[in-house]
């Protein structure tokens, strides 16, 4: 045996720079820098980096972030949720049904919707745990079930697939502004007066800044990213999430309540989807049966760009947030740059592939997997 001070001569000294670079988020960081550089070069004059443009791609990125945080934690816990997109549509429709059709107070409609969606998330998790089926299949079933109800319910009671009037119903409500409101108006007014950001020059709003506050959607995204990151890296429960996804059997042998962790993560994913849905219906003022289509895949792509392992046990919430940022910036940036918008998918595919190749390489360095 070697004595305590001797080190293994086969372990090479790792430089600090290399150590700082080797982290799960590296793929996301490189991608973010690349995307911003690209658009700064090709779309600088387009208004993309003026207040309104920044708000535009920030909102889109924040939408991706909200669902990516849930998908990220769930994926690290070793499961998928393909029903996220349908859950968004379903939750929005529930708000409309309870708040507009049944004319309940908006706060009550929101709380009932959260309760229903969390219960559905728990049901997803419970079925996965009980049957031992892959969550891929179980949540694929829910993708269709929830989407079906989202179309069936408004058609049956209102004979249409879009229910409006949510903004009027939410007027004066205490809970609705937490999802649909804006914060920081005085700061933006001051910035507008100081000439830092653009102001309206004509019309009834002359002198008001073009961007008059930060939508709560962005605040929710930031709060959820911070919450998810702290939960994952700084708490006992976070360690259980890694363990449940890394090797459920080993985790159980060590006393980790794997089933509870997984069900709670399904519920958290449902919570994120519902936050997204409520913010969206408050913004649009209506709920549509086609809302949230394909969001589940966009969330998973953001998470994978962010360095998470599809098979669970490894990943980073900050990485997933960067993946969402890349997603939003590319989607809106191509529009600003005047590029044919169908090329969005081409760009996205290339970024996905490049980020995943880089991430796989980094992960091998960190974890020693072969």
């Amino acid at each position: 045996m070697s004595d305590a001070t001797e080190t293994d001569e086969r372990i090479k000294e790792i430089s600090r720079l290399r150590q700082a670079l080797i982290r799960p988020e590296l793929g996301g960081i490189v991608g973010t820098v690349a995307v911003f550089t690209l658009f700064a070069l090709f779309a600088w004059d387009s208004g993309m980096f003026q207040s309104q443009g920044v708000l535009n791609w920030t909102i889109v990125s924040a939408q991706f972030m909200i669902i990516a945080v849930g998908a990220c934690l769930l994926m690290i816990a070793g499961e998928f949720d393909l029903s996220v997109g349908s859950m968004i549509g379903f939750a929005g429709m529930m708000i409309a049904v309870f708040g507009v059709v049944l004319a309940l107070p908006m706060w009550l409609a929101i709380l009932i919707t959260f309760a229903i969606c969390l219960a559905l998330g728990a049901l997803n998790g419970w079925i996965v745990i009980r049957t031992g089926l892959p969550s891929f299949i179980v949540t694929l079933a829910f993708l269709f079930i929830l989407r079906g109800f989202t179309i069936y319910i408004p058609q049956t009671i209102e004979r249409k697939t879009i229910i409006g009037g949510i903004r009027d119903a939410a007027e004066g409500d205490w809970l609705a502004p937490i999802f649909g409101g804006k914060i920081g108006q005085p700061i933006f007014q001051w910035l507008g007066d100081a000439g830092v950001i653009a102001v309206f020059e004509r019309g009834s709003r002359t002198g008001e800044p073009v961007v008059d506050g930060i939508p709560m959607l962005i605040v929710w995204a930031i709060i959820l990213v911070i919450f998810g990151h702290v939960l994952l890296t700084r708490t006992r429960f976070g360690n259980w999430i890694f363990a449940a996804g890394g090797d459920p059997e080993a985790a159980r042998n060590s006393g980790v309540p794997v089933n509870r962790v997984k069900v709670l993560m399904f519920m958290f994913t449902a919570f994120c989807a519902t936050v997204f849905a409520v913010c969206q219906v408050m913004e649009f003022g209506s709920a549509g049966a086609d809302r949230g289509l394909l969001k589940e895949f966009e969330a998973i792509i953001a998470v994978v760009i962010g360095g998470a392992l599809l098979t669970g046990g490894y990943g980073s919430v900050l990485g997933a947030a960067l993946g969402a940022l890349i997603f939003g910036v590319v989607q809106q940036g191509l529009f600003f740059a005047g590029v044919e918008s169908s090329l969005f998918r081409v760009f996205l595919g290339i970024i996905l592939l490049a980020a995943v190749i880089l991430n796989t390489y980094i992960r091998r360095l960190i974890t020693g997997e072969r």
Partner: protein
């Protein structure tokens, strides 16, 4: 010597019509390494599962620190201080050593009433415990996947010891290891024994057993063939007892006594 930590007498375990254990008696003292030898199918696994609370014996008695004991499930055994390091290690390769070390027992630090995972404490303890076992980690955040098989065994053993094991059951810890790694694990067993922990070392490799064992019990066809003290028995005798005598003898000519 004082009383054994754990004494198991005439343990029988039947699975339906199959008699897996037909009267096995083993006792373990603090600070000794008791080797349990037996060929495949001898009942080693069934026996340690009985000891660690996975199986309930059909007949026979278990005394733990002098008192009769009935383990309802493995958690009872773990709570009493019986830790098992399985062949299938409870280690997650993707996670860091310190996260693995404290998996399920994470230290908590309260900040503003919110319980946070005390990473500094976890990291410091892990480094300290691993240093005691003679393994120098690059850092506590090094992933278990980058460790060798022997080092992983050592992490698992160090973890069991840290969390207060009185009896440590090692299920074939050396079976998949190279020569150097095996000697590292055997050295770890020796360190653990010196801390006053009773080690039950399950193996079918006589040389590994003789390297660290204080006493040797041979299991064959669900029965104990007897317990021998160190120095009372030769490797050849142990080998013959494990194999049941005759079959191996006929082979020995062609193998040149190398088994």
């Amino acid at each position: 010597m004082s009383d054994p930590i754990i004494r198991m007498t005439n343990i029988e375990k039947h699975f339906g019509s199959v008699i897996a254990l037909a009267g096995v008696s083993v006792d373990v003292f603090a600070g000794e390494c008791h080797c349990l030898l037996g060929d495949n199918g001898a009942g080693k696994s069934t026996f340690i599962k009985t000891m660690s609370g996975v199986h309930k014996p059909t007949a026979g008695e278990i005394y733990f620190e002098g008192k009769p004991m009935h383990f309802e499930d493995p958690r009872d055994a773990i709570a009493a201080g019986i830790a098992t390091v399985h062949q299938h290690l409870a280690m997650i390769p993707l996670m860091s050593v310190s996260r693995n070390f404290f998996m399920g027992n994470e230290p908590i630090k309260k900040v503003a009433g919110i319980p946070f995972f005390d990473r500094e404490k976890a990291d410091a303890t892990t480094m300290e415990e691993m240093r005691k076992m003679g393994i120098n980690l690059r850092g506590p955040d090094q992933a278990v996947g980058t460790l060798s098989g022997g080092e992983r065994q050592t992490v698992a053993i160090a973890r069991a010891v840290h969390f207060g094991a009185k009896v440590l059951i090692l299920d074939e810890p050396t079976s998949a290891l190279g020569v150097r790694q095996t000697s590292n694990v055997l050295a770890t067993v020796d360190k653990v024994r010196k801390q006053g922990i009773g080690v039950v070392f399950i193996t079918h490799n006589v040389r590994h057993a003789l390297a660290v064992g204080d006493r040797f019990t041979v299991l064959n066809r669900g029965k104990t063939l007897g317990t021998a003290m160190r120095g009372e028995i030769t490797p050849e005798e142990l080998q013959d007892m494990m194999a049941g005598g005759q079959e191996l003898a006929t082979l020995e000519g062609s193998l040149g006594g190398t088994v």
